[in-house]
């Protein structure tokens, strides 16, 4: 890194576009906390809803980590463009379509839906449904992030492990994942952030949760949209500000963990 006294053109341009990203967020925070400061925005209904969102997003992120780490590893080592493209699909289709797809899959119209219902696993307006949709839409974010983590790692320890007789999957869990634990955790948190921000699919498949312990609770994004319909700007903006604050905290934790990883690897 070279230190320059005067920022160059690229730096100035980067600062300007960063500000463009910050503006709407800053507006929500300022108006939410300072201008409107609506009491409904701070009510228990909002906090329950944020709790549901954090809970479901973290479970979704954990499931994504478990299920998609092998795929991300596989793609990063064998560069299968077909698998890569497929894993990107859910990121490139409008999310209401994801919601509609799940509604169809889990409905009594399909054999799979009938099977799920017969074993008592209804996904409609339920926590499993919410988590499934969140996992689906946040998976590409994780796969991309994890893939770049794996690609940056040297492959020698893996070759050694396989030479010693470990299968690829054992190599993944005994060598690759422990070596990249921090960066993978950071990737998981990034995909959790994506899950927190989801609206389109869950407004269809899990608009409000009907079961204990979140009976009657809406995911935060749905609740905020609903508040806008009920009460107009004030409560919606205040609730949004609370939600944004929590999302920023998750992102900061993710950055912090990633930062530790970078510092260590530099030793």
């Amino acid at each position: 890194m070279t230190s320059t006294k005067k920022p160059d053109g690229l730096t100035i341009f980067s600062i300007v576009v960063t500000i463009l990203i910050i503006i709407p967020i800053a507006f929500i925070l300022v108006y939410g906390f300072a201008v409107y400061h609506s009491s409904i925005g701070f009510s228990s209904i909002v906090f329950k809803s944020i709790a549901l969102t954090i809970f479901s997003s973290s479970i979704a992120a954990f499931i994504v980590f478990l299920l998609f780490t092998p795929l991300a590893y596989h793609i990063s080592r064998l560069s299968s463009s077909a698998m890569e493209t497929i894993s990107d699909i859910s990121a490139s289709i409008p999310h209401p379509i994801v919601g509609i797809a799940f509604l169809l899959i889990v409905s009594p119209l399909t054999p799979f839906g009938r099977f799920l219902i017969s074993i008592g696993l209804g996904l409609f307006d339920s926590i499993p449904g919410l988590v499934t949709a969140l996992a689906f839409v946040s998976a590409p974010v994780y796969i991309r992030a994890a893939q770049s983590v794996f690609s940056q790692n040297p492959s020698e320890p893996e070759i050694l492990a396989m030479g010693l007789g470990l299968s690829r999957i054992k190599t993944l869990y005994r060598v690759v994942v422990p070596n990249s634990a921090r960066l993978l955790l950071s990737a998981t948190l990034t995909s959790m952030s994506r899950a927190i921000s989801e609206f389109g699919s869950i407004a269809i498949i899990a608009y409000v949760i009907l079961q204990f312990p979140f009976a009657g609770v809406m995911p935060a994004s749905v609740l905020i949209y609903q508040f806008f319909g009920y009460y107009g700007l004030g409560p919606a903006v205040t609730a949004s500000a609370v939600m944004i604050l929590i999302s920023i905290i998750v992102l900061l934790i993710s950055r912090f963990i990633k930062g530790i990883g970078n510092n260590r690897s530099g030793v």
């Binding site: 040297p154 020698e156 320890p157 070759i159 050694l160 492990a161 396989m162 030479g163 010693l164 007789g165 470990l166 299968s167 690829r168 190599t171 060598v175 422990p178 070596n179 030793v267």
Partner: protein, 200 residues
């Protein structure tokens, strides 16, 4: 003449072509300048790189199509170690090795240090990796220019010979130059992907 290791392979990588044909066993030393194809040869033998044609046979078993994890051929270069494991964890990586065997190899190789691998010097790391490889009883151990990073590398390798012989493990040590101190059974020179025997 029958030897434990019989290699006759071809591999093209862009402009470069590896044409390696040799029979050998025991401690095998291969030397050549940068870009002569040493690493490519070792990676073909280990199964990391698939060969275009030819065969790799060890003690009558054809290894050419056997996947890397079943081949029992260990490839080591200076990044081949598990940074998050302690020395003890590293040596018992396969979870089946007897304590006595670990102790024996630690004594022979002078591994009297502890701690996580990532906190050790390069030479210390590579000694642990090499020991771990020997403990896995492989057919072949391939050392890709790691001697330069280990102090007294060649005497360490010489000390390992009885164990390697006992467990029928052959070893290929690759370096930039020929060695006078290594107790080797065969020596080869590799130039532009072609390998020729050298009489010591």
């Amino acid at each position: 003449m029958f030897k434990a290791l019989e290699v006759d392979i071809r591999k093209r990588l862009g402009e470069f072509e590896l044409k390696a044909s040799f029979n050998a066993e025991g401690m095998i030393h291969i030397f050549g300048v940068n870009g002569s194809g040493k690493t490519t040869l070792l990676k073909c033998l280990a199964g990391v790189i698939r060969v275009d044609s030819g065969t790799i046979v060890h003690n009558g078993i054809e290894l050419t199509a056997i996947p890397i994890e079943q081949r029992k051929v260990v490839y080591l270069d200076r990044l081949s170690f598990f940074p998050n494991l302690t020395v003890e964890e590293h040596l018992s990586f396969l979870r089946v090795t007897e304590v006595e065997e670990i102790d024996e190899i630690k004594r022979i190789m002078g591994i009297d240090y502890k701690g996580k691998l990532k906190n050790l010097s390069t030479g210390q790391k590579l000694k642990v990796s090499l020991a771990t490889s020997v403990l896995s009883h492989p057919r072949l151990i391939l050392l890709d220019e790691i001697s330069a990073n280990i102090s007294n590398a060649e005497s360490t390798l010489n000390d390992l010979v009885p164990i390697l012989r006992r467990q029928k493990t052959d070893m290929i040590n690759v370096a930039q130059e020929n060695s006078q101190t290594l107790e080797k059974n065969f020596t080869f020179n590799i130039v532009n992907g072609k390998i020729t025997g050298v009489e010591d």
